[in-house]
Amino acid sequence: MDILAPILISIIAASTPLLFAAIGELVVEKSGVLNLGVEGMMLGGAVIAFIISVETGNSALAIVAGAAMGAMMAGLFAVLTLGLLANQVATGLALTLFGIGLSALLGQGYVGTPLTALPKLNIPGLTDIPVLGPVVFGQDVLVYLSFVVTGLVAWFLYRTRAGLVLRSVGENPHAAHAIGFPVIRIRLFAVLFGGAMAGLGGAYLSLSYTPMWAEEMSAGRGWIALALVVFATWRPGRVVLGAYLFGGLTLAQLHLQGMGSSAIPSQFLNMVPYIATIVVLVLISRDATRIRMNAPASIGKVFHPDG
């Protein structure tokens, strides 16, 4: 099947930005912080990565800069919510609006500038395997990175002591504080990591997925990533499943339309990825007790050591 490989490659491309943003937000939320600024941080990462890539021609530097921009914006969020105890929901929303405006401003001179996509890194021997080869081993560096990061996050959260500490901070910051864990510092690192991942998701958009800068080019993907974390009940494996399901269904509905399945209205087909992803994730996690166990108990609540 000649057609299968390109379709699978397109699915991975559509899913990768969601995966980055969602896996980062998962860590943030596991530490008990809700950052609704994902969309804004993605745009920040996208515009900075694009600018650096155009100006220096160095894609490695561009990727790092995109992640750094996301982390910087997350740092701002951290100062306000962790330092000054501002409301997390309001601050996160403000961060998204800020990111939309800031990225538009920074990117003003770069609208309509073309860029060559990130090169595909072929792995000799493996890339030549039919279908699977080009799909799994013929991707660009950011896709590989998304695989690695997801694995590391799952391992970190559930197999390391530091991960356990982070989760305990998300469950009960006061108890964690009483035992002597630096709650604020742990949350700060989680928030910065989440920002960096959102920035990478953005960098993937502007360097590889559609290598260009256009205002609001993330087109709501940050919000989808946020929803994925909740519907995946804060489990890394399910975040991967959700992201790929969403990407896959998006592509599938476009293909269905192209094949002329006109029995179903296109408006409905456009809804399918959203509905189906939610339904599947709700079904696999319908055990209410387990959701409560996975959901960080202190999410969104301001923590003050003396309070």
């Binding site: 379709i7 397109s10 538009a104 997925y209 260009m212 205002e215 087109a219 408006q267």
Partner: protein, 360 residues
Amino acid sequence: MTKLTRRSFSALTLAAGAAAAFPARAADPLKVGFIYVGPVGDFGWSYQHDQGRLAIEQELGDRVKTSFVESVPEGADADRVITQLARSGHKLIFTTSFGYMEPTNKVAKNFPDVMFEHATGYMRADNVATYAARFYEGRYVAGILAGRLSKTNKIGYIGSIPIPEVIRGINAFTHSARKINPAIEVTPIWVNEWYNPGKEADAAKALIDQGADIILQHTDSPAPVQTAEERGVLCVGQASNMERFGPTAHMTAIVDHWAPYYVERTKAVLDGTWTSGDVWGGFNSGMVEMSPYNKNLPEAVVAEAKAAEQAIHDGKLHPFSGPIKNQAGEVAIADGATAPDGELLGMNWYVEGVNGKVPG
């Protein structure tokens, strides 16, 4: 120029309100407001409207002051933004998307001394004029290129929202391509958004994977052009010249050129000669242009396209002159007849050669 976002807009309105407390001087510049459905940096629809706004500033200098609000969703938000523009002393307001039709007319009732220009709508009032461009003329010309150059006879068409404007474009294109090559089939994929670069690129990929070797788009980002370049197929850009996103793939683009109309209408307000009306301009009005044809296209094909452009410009050729059959193979527009504007404006059926059904 002032650049506004919806969010910072209220603050500005307050300031403008304070300023309005003092009597205006005769030499005060005319304030012209714009509301856009997308970001000005979309490099497509809203970008081109903003080019028109810049042209007004350039031509009329100190006599005008323009401002714009971008990314305003169609619906209740638009209502509020248009009201604020009117309240803050804008005497001429361009509302540049179909979905602003009802808000524009509603607000216009409350501000009888403010002039409104609504793009692509059909509701008018004494102070609401409408204007639109006959982009289907450009689509017809693009059809000639596709008819001559498609090897697989499959053409992919990325649709935004299934309204008559878009369906008319699909029909003009398909009819024209099939006049040259009756084996051509056109497959639309609807993304149900005007602007989502990633999804537009995905739609292009899906169409190419299914065998299309030419991609048309009626969405606003250059992402499909980029995808076409990457996959080695041909394409036609939308709204602005997108050649730099696909130096070999981009055959031409159907360019929206609002500047002449915007300048003319602003001058009319300055001179006190503005009246409501309806303009639907094509090649002959300068509102629609084909961007320079790709150098790699065969000369004969380009010549044929240019000849059609000229013939449409001169009124010798109408893109919807019969016989045109619908999907069922019945004659919908008779031999020798041309579709009247009323029918074009409400077009909700496909011509023969389009795959699938009109959604909705």
